[in-house]
Symmetry: C2
Subunit: 485 residues, 2 copies
Amino acid sequence: MAKENKQQDNRQKVEQITDMEADFAQWYTDVCTKAELIDYTSVKGLYILRPYGYAIWESIQRELDARFKADGHENVSMPLLIPESLLQKERDHVAGFAPECAWVTVGGSEELEERLCIRPTSETLFCEHWAKTVASWRDLPKLYNQWCSVLRWEKTTRPFLRHREFLWQEGHTLHATAEEALEETERQLEVYAAVCEEYLAMPVTRGLKTEQEKFAGAERTYTIECMMHDRKALQNGTSHYFGDGFARAFGIQYSDRENKLQYPHQTSWGFTTRTIGGLIMTHGDNSGLVIPPKIAPIEVVVIPVATHRPGVNEAAERLVAALRGAGLRAKGDFGDNSPGWKYAEYEMKGVPLRIEIGPRDIEAGACVAARRDSGEKTALPLGEAATGARALLDDIQAALYKKAQRNLEDHTYAAGSIDDIIKINNSGGGFIKAMWCGADACEDEMKERAGVSARCIPFKQERVGEVCAACQKPAKHMVLWGVAY
Amino acid sequence: MAKENKQQDNRQKVEQITDMEADFAQWYTDVCTKAELIDYTSVKGLYILRPYGYAIWESIQRELDARFKADGHENVSMPLLIPESLLQKERDHVAGFAPECAWVTVGGSEELEERLCIRPTSETLFCEHWAKTVASWRDLPKLYNQWCSVLRWEKTTRPFLRHREFLWQEGHTLHATAEEALEETERQLEVYAAVCEEYLAMPVTRGLKTEQEKFAGAERTYTIECMMHDRKALQNGTSHYFGDGFARAFGIQYSDRENKLQYPHQTSWGFTTRTIGGLIMTHGDNSGLVIPPKIAPIEVVVIPVATHRPGVNEAAERLVAALRGAGLRAKGDFGDNSPGWKYAEYEMKGVPLRIEIGPRDIEAGACVAARRDSGEKTALPLGEAATGARALLDDIQAALYKKAQRNLEDHTYAAGSIDDIIKINNSGGGFIKAMWCGADACEDEMKERAGVSARCIPFKQERVGEVCAACQKPAKHMVLWGVAY
């Protein structure tokens, strides 16, 4: 691309965005690139998180990490590479991950004797370490976490939603008893749910994965599922209970208080950058991204208007300082672009609140706050700008949650048969509550005929019928079905 | 290893440590493992950073990251993998790194069309991104940083000092002018120097690398060099100025204010977990690690004595709460082990201050603080424990720096000839200031005959002679020579 075209391109970035109702997938890609969250590289599925995209991830990290540590978890760093023989130690695990591994076969100028895979997840590494270091009940529990990237050689890739390399945290814990491990599995799911609901303003459905959908090697996988604007489902964090399966495969044992050898019980749980994709598809609109204030890298942007008039920039600077002094993440934009251009830019970037300040405002001792979510404008007295902004941000946070909650409620349906589900899908789709007998064959039939997968068996069970929607035999569970990202 | 042996092993961990004067290398390895900083894996050169080791890295990260951001740098995330053709774009760079690359050749079940190396460093990825996104002087400077791991397939490996995979930060910046880029290179070196001196209590020598020692592809490499307890040198952070070499190789151009196309100027700078090795070898002693308070994950450990006596644990808990309330990173150890065992454990882990509290102390309304650096004990009134601990910690921080500074000064020598240097090496060695003519041949001769390499051309030049120590021809620079880790 010639330099002139690139500049042109930059100038027009806020003008060109696909209508989300016309082409949701293209709208999504437009937001990822035009809000400068992400860039493509020359390798399919490997993406760059640009400063603004990474700053959102840092906000999420800060919240999760503080909660993990408050619960006694410790961060560690495990290696990037796993020898093939180590990956193979747990049968179900390797069956699930080997097809997606990227393999290192050459180190320096030499062929390796054993090939090494780039970690798709690190259970095997934690197990190898624990087999060496855990000996007694005094060594338990181990509550570990690591922040890193993992690699899965996916065929289809999309920004945030499906990277070959993605950033995540993976918690791994080891406990003396099954009860303790199950408690941990549930507690960490609740941490994810809390961060989603309270910070990301994304309502979640908590539940258990079916046998087909659970993590490779797990006894149980818990999940939180979110509805996107297009009514599809996003799995937004999972927590796994392994029983003592890995401990047996890796020879991890501890002597209990009676000095008897026991196998410990294990969990793992992960939360990834895909949640940023979820954030975009939950709150975004035709002007671009909308970021909930609690997670926004910039909560308020101050834009001076008519900066050629004396005193305007100075007043804007004082305002930014006052907002920051009150603990708000505020930024002033004193650049050359026109106010209109700047408005569009920060709308694209989803900054929750914009404050405009010009000569007339200054004369009136006020400024104008514009909400990103509703566009609504409020005059704020300059002396109370920080308090006023804080109140508006709190309101935006609540409004975004409420709007997402309404989308979820408005498009969640009960269905008694596959035909019902097909009808729902034909009229826009959504989440479908339907009874299930527990048979794999019925789950498969749901996928094949209605194109929906079992998102989870919700913790909050309801009886929306007596028989399985697929086979019409007596039902065991209510399942939440949907079309998943 | 049988479980019983492992337990035995754990119990004895604080008793077995090699004398540092007898075998410094073995002492170092003992500290790395017995202070539970690190664990080995089944792949040579890939290590696990255990919770305590990783917590030290998190302390260092916190300090550096805050300083980077205060200077306007933004964090990003670049991919893990670099296509071979991309790595080859800058001639000197690929020549330096290709021999150490690990190569991914298989993704999923397919041979890749082009092999991908695991990043040994990420200049090429930043350049590819900038070639697409930088167009105008308005886009400059770009001040980027990333926290990640990199991989270099080294033949010889040692905990912290030389991993095949190590954690680091890599800053990458792009500037309109050479002057700005040079300023950045120097500013970031000064950030590293400040964190080393003020936080890690490690005195540094700032200087320029010789042509032979500089980074592959750089025009200039700046370094900070530290003297270890055994008088060897550790390179503890480097900052590179690239000129416009990479910009030309990757076709990065911007239009300046006069709308003329220009090549921007570039820097990169890195700081790694190897500094933890430096920390061990600077401050450690025969009881184990010694961590400077400002960087210590635990600043004060409180150990109750005679816990069977009523009120002891309660008093110790109140003390921990008071210390934490005053902002100190304090921990109480209420476990089953004997006080003596605990003393040895926290000495091994280098916790700067231990506070003992027993029935007699409580009666006297006091506690006893024991310094890790000197062993000195001080009685502190319970009501002033936090203030007293703070003062002692400040004193320990200063004392550690002073001791390291004395080691550096006592073992830095001036030499006029290679024979002089050999004599110095034969009587214990150290840093050697000697003049140099600037010829590669003389640098090589220093290596071959005296076994020393050019650590740097210090910014603070002195004239310790008129002629090159190797060839006795007129000298250009004073060089700091040493034996490097």
